[in-house]
Subunit: 239 residues, 2 copies
DNA sequence: TCGATGCCTTTGTATGATAAATTTTGCTGG
DNA sequence: CCAGCAAAATTTATCATACAAAGGCATCGA
């Protein structure tokens, strides 16, 4: 769940090349310069560069072969659910299209997760969701709200007990991240979704899967509509 | 989507250490031997080892810090949707619990994907699904059926046009892989799910999202029941 | 024209050395 | 005896260089 360490040198190289690829500055099919040349141009040893290339290769962004060189792989080979890839996309390409897709993913994942959580949550897991909810209640600004909100949705995913579901938190994280950015300007009633969260919490507490699913579904539908509204109001080049 | 190349040396190291970690032979919290010692014990250079460690680190399996050493991260930090991690789990830990979770994921993803595909598929994408269906029809043995089945479900995911959905194909791949292994013994009517697939194809062709969703849902429910049945019949230690 | 063989470029692997970071230890002063 | 700071030791991080292997390209021959 943790992004690659940006402090280390090869971490910086990963981030640099990764963003260049994801942003489209380096297109699929392009071949990178030779390793020693690229290493020199980035002011790192070939060794550090190679470690970075291996990481990018693990994310499906590139592929290296002797003699042929290292080339960018097609977009559908990328590990689109990787935490770094998602964050790089969010950082460089907040197109309407991408936001829409993120919302779609969320709408698939979270209601199902809420239902599963209502079915199988342990006492401890419920307590964690409850704690997050209270922190949302107590939040005094958008920043506090943001971390509490993330905690809430993370706790719901945790309560499913399905580790693959939990790994999908990276997607939810991206969605909420975009939302917070876009709603930072209109800092008015940032707690408006509290009732929705309460319904979800309550349904999970009472072990009512279908109620939890519907409540979560309603919350997300509302959230997407809200996002759409703010996006239209906000400053944008293309109409 | 492609697993790490096992031909290269560091690829072998990744696989070796990865399976040892995922299988539980190396437990979370354990610290690996020092890099030079580990490199020597695995008969590779420290360089190749480090590249492997970086890849495992990118998958969230390990974390390295100076002086402290390299240690196995807790399971919920692992990138459970990574193609390699999934395949290593399938190879070493086909517990009932894990199969159940895979089925749950599939039941969440595929109906939603079918609905989205029915809504947005292009002509070309539909053609690809159709082609896969015909290959399933024409399959003469379980092996041919397996590749065609994978093609079909992959084509449906592709037709959603959502790249994150497409990346989830790794999960479906794992589920079907397990299914094929378990159903290899009873090679009787391997085409029994053909009508289900036809309904899905038809609904997607006619742009009927809810019909497609229900058809896919029915297919998966049936598939899970079937898997459960075979699993009980099969040779197992624990009842 | 086709095919095989040798060369050449690029990634893959190995080795040794130095830097940086962090924990531990030990020293000093109160 | 304890607190706090400084030095040391250990481990990863980075660098530099050399050689091996693989894959394409050209050349040469039939």
């Amino acid at each position: 769940m943790k992004a690659t360490d940006a402090r280390s040198l090869h971490g910086q190289v990963v981030r640099e090349l990764g963003t260049r690829i994801v942003s489209g500055e380096l297109k699929p099919g392009d071949v990178l310069p030779r390793e020693d040349a690229l290493a020199e141009s980035m002011q790192v040893s070939r060794n550090a560069l190679r470690e970075a290339l291996k990481v990018l290769s693990a994310k499906g962004l590139i592929e290296a072969r002797p003699k042929t060189g290292t080339r960018i792989r097609p977009r559908d080979a990328w590990n689109q659910l990787d935490a770094d890839v998602l964050s790089w996309r969010c950082a460089t390409m907040p197109t309407d299209d991408f936001i829409e897709k993120l919302g779609e993913m969320r709408e698939i994942i979270e209601p199902a997760a809420a239902a599963a959580a209502a079915r199988r949550r342990t006492q401890t897991q419920l307590a964690r969701i409850d704690t997050a909810y209270r922190q949302m209640e107590a939040a005094r600004d958008t920043s506090e709200w943001a971390v509490a909100d993330l905690s809430f949705h993370n706790a719901v995913l945790q309560a499913t007990g399905n580790e693959m579901m939990i790994s999908l938190f990276t997607v939810i994280e991206s969605v909420l991240g975009m939302f917070f950015v876009l709603s930072a300007q209109t800092a008015g009633d940032f707690k408006y979704s509290l009732p929705h969260h309460h319904k979800v919490l309550d349904a999970i507490r009472r072990n009512q899967p279908e109620v939890a699913r519907k409540a979560m579904q309603a919350m997300i539908t509302d959230s997407r509509a809200n996002l759409e509204k703010r996006r239209k109001k906000g400053v944008r080049k293309a109409s």
